[in-house]
């Protein structure tokens, strides 16, 4: 009985082929078209739109990032240039002030030397005068002493 059912005699059985086969094939083909219209096309459209959106956003973001990087580089260069300029100005100012200092120093030194020289000269001349005067007075005194001595004799 079981084997009869399994291997399909006239009625029923596991391998009982009939019009189910072509009708099922037609049904699956129809289902393919229905699913294509209801499922594969719309979902595919949404997914691909999203993929496009993501890739374009990515590209845009990349572009913006590159722009930002360029701007940053620009800014950095400007900053560097400004810093160099500032350094130069500071250096110039330092050199200027040093020059001024040196000039003032040399001027002051020479003035001081000149006044010292003058003072020395004055001292020398006064000393000479004083010496001359002393000599004259000593001469006068000597003369006087000689006169007195001679007169007393």
């Amino acid at each position: 009985m079981t084997s009869l059912l399994l291997f399909g005699a006239s009625e029923g059985g596991l391998f009982d082929f009939d019009a189910t086969l072509p009708l099922m094939a037609i049904q699956v083909v129809v289902l393919t078209f229905i699913l294509n219209a209801l499922f594969f096309k719309p979902v595919g459209r949404v997914v691909e739109e999203r993929e496009d959106y993501v890739s374009t956003s990515r590209a845009e973001a990349k572009k913006k990032l590159a722009e930002v990087e360029k701007l940053e580089l620009d800014l950095r260069n400007q900053l560097k240039a400004a810093r160099l300029d500032a350094q130069k100005v500071i250096n110039e100012a330092e050199q200027d002030s040093e020059k001024l200092y040196k000039e003032a120093l040399s001027l002051a030194t020479s003035e001081a030397n000149a006044s010292r020289e003058e003072a020395r000269r004055e001292i020398d001349s006064q000393r000479e005068n004083a010496l001359n005067q002393l000599k004259k007075e000593a001469d006068n005194l000597g003369d006087l002493i000689i006169e007195r001595l001679l007169a007393a004799k």
Binding site: L14, F17, L23, M24, T32, N36
Partner: protein, 241 residues
């Protein structure tokens, strides 16, 4: 034979009995169509609810549908190739989804509660007619894919790489649908039988792991069928140099 005890479960299972519908002079297996319509209806309902209001940020069922779509696209793309996979994706996807809902529907829905005058409801893929129909559709599609893509140069495939291959390739055209249909049919039927026999012998606990195994096999079989169908189509459209 009727005196043997192990005949009883098989008799209870009503293996190979069908509910016949007569349309004109055609006879069809009513139980197969009843379950397939219910399952296709459920599938379409899911698809319609998921695609009703689709957004760029997916919500709810749309996520599931997009996951399925992505899965099927990857399957079709890896097997068929970048060039023509788009044409065949709906077919591969329909095969996968139909076999998957058939297998799982057969395993998950307690059809036995619905009494039929003859035969019983079950997975549509447990009927040889369904699996042979699917397998023949795959055969037709890969022939069509090859011929429409390469014209008569498709037949170079039979003598590639050497003409010695010709008889083997011809035999393959017959073994491909045969193995496709019998693999699916055998797996699903065997799973139903094992579960039914176990339920008959030990109604509690023991059938549950086998049922889970059945769900696993069912999913794998759907994947295998779809992958092989895609592979055959890919083989037919592949360019040899």
């Amino acid at each position: 034979m009727d005196s043997l005890p192990f005949v009883l479960p098989f008799a209870e299972l009503e293996v190979g009995q069908h509910l016949y519908w007569q349309i004109g002079n055609l006879r069809i297996h009513g139980q197969v169509f009843m379950t397939s319509w219910l399952l296709i209806g459920a599938l379409l309902a899911l698809v319609v609810t998921g695609t009703k209001k689709m957004e760029r940020d997916p919500k709810g069922v749309q996520n599931l549908l997009e996951f399925l779509w992505d899965y099927i696209r990857d399957l079709a793309r890896t097997q068929i190739g970048e060039k023509v996979y788009r044409d065949w994706m709906p077919f591969i996807g329909t095969l996968f989804l139909f076999i998957f809902v058939s297998n799982w529907g057969g395993a998950l829905v307690p059809w036995r509660l619905i009494k039929l005058p003859s035969g019983e409801l079950g997975a549509p893929t447990a009927d040889i007619n369904t699996t042979v129909a699917l397998a023949l559709l795959v055969s037709l599609s890969y022939f069509y894919a090859g011929l429409s893509n390469k014209g008569l140069r498709y037949f170079e495939y039979y003598v590639h790489p050497t003409p010695i291959m010709l008889p083997f390739k011809i035999v393959e055209d017959f073994t491909k649908p045969l193995s496709l249909s019998f693999r699916l049919f055998g797996n699903i039927l065997a799973d139903e039988l094992v579960v039914a026999v176990l339920v008959f012998l030990v109604p509690l606990v023991l059938p549950v792991p086998v049922m889970f195994l059945g769900l696993f096999t069912s999913a794998i079989q759907a994947l295998i069928f779809a992958t092989l169908a895609a592979y055959y189509i890919g083989e037919a459209v592949e360019e040899h140099h």
